[in-house]
């Protein structure tokens, strides 16, 4: 378990005089589900952009999947998956075409894409949807598919940026089942969310406030430490001090 896939030491990111990430340090281990919480504007998005190679740190050491976030962003991008709140699938392409497209972008061979496509369709019981347009699928199915596509190339880490925004509880529940399944295959899941009940499902969570990480531990330990019944109470005690 103690195999580090993301290590961040004293990460600082400034935009002009505004400090978005103020001296962050944390580690994420292989195969864990790491919840990255914080109020809007706390600096979560900035951190995710740096970890996924979209933006460079101002200072500090950042290592993702064994690569440096300053000058090895190309390698980082090959080893991660990404899914955001807005759907990453093209609505005017079919299920199959989307899978072929993303497989191709990640440099997978034709035969490997074909193999994964069949596996994926079987796993999701999606066979009859193979040639359907994404726009014809219900929201829940699209979301599951988007997640499967994000891990199609078996990345070391997958970043999920508020993946369950605007989705009903049953679909969210099902979605978390696929997250567990993915983590059990050894893929690290780095997830941000606004739903505190989802935070309970994570192996460890960190809570950000004003650009700093103010808490980082397992949900159980945090609840004990802050004498709270739920993660939600912990979050309110930390992020909104009275």
């Amino acid at each position: 378990m103690n195999n580090t896939v993301i290590s961040v030491h004293n990460l600082v990111k400034k935009f002009g005089s505004f400090v978005a990430n103020d001296n962050l340090s944390f580690e994420v281990y292989a195969g864990e589900i790491f919840g990255f919480l914080g109020a809007n504007g706390a600096g979560k998005t900035t951190t995710i952009r740096i970890l996924s190679g979209l933006s460079k740190p101002t200072s500090g050491e950042v290592n993702v999947a064994g690569f440096d976030a300053y000058d090895q962003t190309e390698q980082i991008k090959k080893n991660i998956g990404y899914m955001c709140q807005k759907f990453s699938l093209y609505e005017d392409l079919t299920v199959k075409e989307n899978i072929i497209l993303y497989g191709g972008i990640y440099g997978m061979s034709r035969s490997l894409i074909r193999k994964r496509l069949i596996e994926l369709l079987a796993k999701l019981r999606f066979q009859e949807y193979e040639n359907r347009m994404i726009s014809d699928l219900p929201l829940g199915l699209r979301q599951k598919l988007a997640f499967s596509v994000a891990v199609l190339h078996e990345p070391k880490i997958v970043f999920l940026d508020e993946p369950t925004g605007g989705v009903d509880p049953i679909t969210r529940r099902q979605f978390w089942e696929s997250i567990y399944e993915t983590a059990s295959r050894g893929i690290t899941v780095f997830v941000t969310t606004h739903y505190m009940d989802e935070a309970e499902y994570c192996d460890r969570i960190s809570i950000m406030n004003d650009g700093k990480i103010v808490a980082l531990d397992t949900p159980e330990n945090l609840k004990k430490q802050y004498n709270a019944g739920t993660v939600e109470e912990v979050f309110i005690k930390i992020a909104r001090p009275v």
């Binding site: 935009f15 996924s52 190679g53 979209l54 933006s55 190309e74 991008k77 090959k78 991660i80 990404y82 899914m83 955001c84 709140q85 807005k86 759907f87 990453s88 699938l89 093209y90 609505e91 005017d92 392409l93 075409e97 072929i100 497209l101 993303y102 191709g104 972008i105 990640y106 440099g107 970043f159």
Partner: protein, 369 residues
Amino acid sequence: MKRFLGFVKKEFLHIFRDYRTLFILFGIPVAQILIFGFAVSNDIKNAGVAILDLSHDEITLKLTDKIISSGFFKKTETLLNYKDIDRVFKKGKTKAVIIFENDFGRKLISEGKASLSIIADGSEPNTATLVTNYTTAIVNDFTTELAGPVLNNSIRISPEVKMFYNPNLKSHYMFVPGVVTLILILICALMTSVTITREKEFGTMEVLLVSPLRPIQIILGKVMPYFILSFINVLLILALSWLVFDLPVKGSLILLLAECMLYILMSLSLGILISTVSANMQQAIFISLIGLMLPTVLLSGFIFPIENMPKIYDYISSILPPRYFIVIIKNIMIKGTGLMYIWKETLILIIMTLVFIGISVRKFKIRLE
């Protein structure tokens, strides 16, 4: 490279799946060419004229006959007095009334001078000017013919006017290059700016940026299909103008196609630039349509000559790429000139392309930071 090709293929799928895009790409150019070519015409053909002949002699009959049989006019009515003029114009079919004065023929022979009036319907200034010009020309021609036997005592100089490059003054010569210029910039800039902002709006741009595709590959991949399709468009328009309007390319076809490629490239980079400054598709459409279409039609020299505009419009038009391309395409298509006479315009287009690309890359990098 394989990643890139898969991405290009996806862009083609977007285009072919969306009938609106296909219509804009191919329907509009064909419609424009046909509409401009047939409907918007500066030539006159069978314009209605009414005759008020107060003299009614051999010469007036001959002249009337010459005017009517010229092919430009057809007689709508024969009027009896001045009061009818207003009535006949109000009916709308008649564009001009030709009035011969009393004793027209006798005066012409005895005094060597007679007058006739041409009254045109000024509510349509363009037609009015054309009709009066054509009539005057026919009358002049007629006097010259007559002058031989009858008026041999006076000395006359009769200029013989010839129109170089466009002997029949056909308006297609003006519209086809204009439409190519308008269509290409409109389609290329509009389509690229919309397709890129669409990815931004749907959130797929984010995913593409996180993927191993480089930003330059993303942009090229999005633009490449439009480059190819626009080039097919050029071939289509040229074929159409050749088959339907009999308008050949006088100069080098290769040079023309190369210049078209340059212009398409310029328009595409302008589209990328528009996409970097607009937040959503509506904005991109708005900027492309209003910002490009009107100035191109009005200020590029497509319809109205720049020389006749106030100086300030001249300055504005000098930052419009279509102004230069219209010179290039007219020169190659109609005059048949080579690169020697259009290198300046070509150079300006190249510089504009580089500037647009430069600004876009800068903007794109700032967004990524």
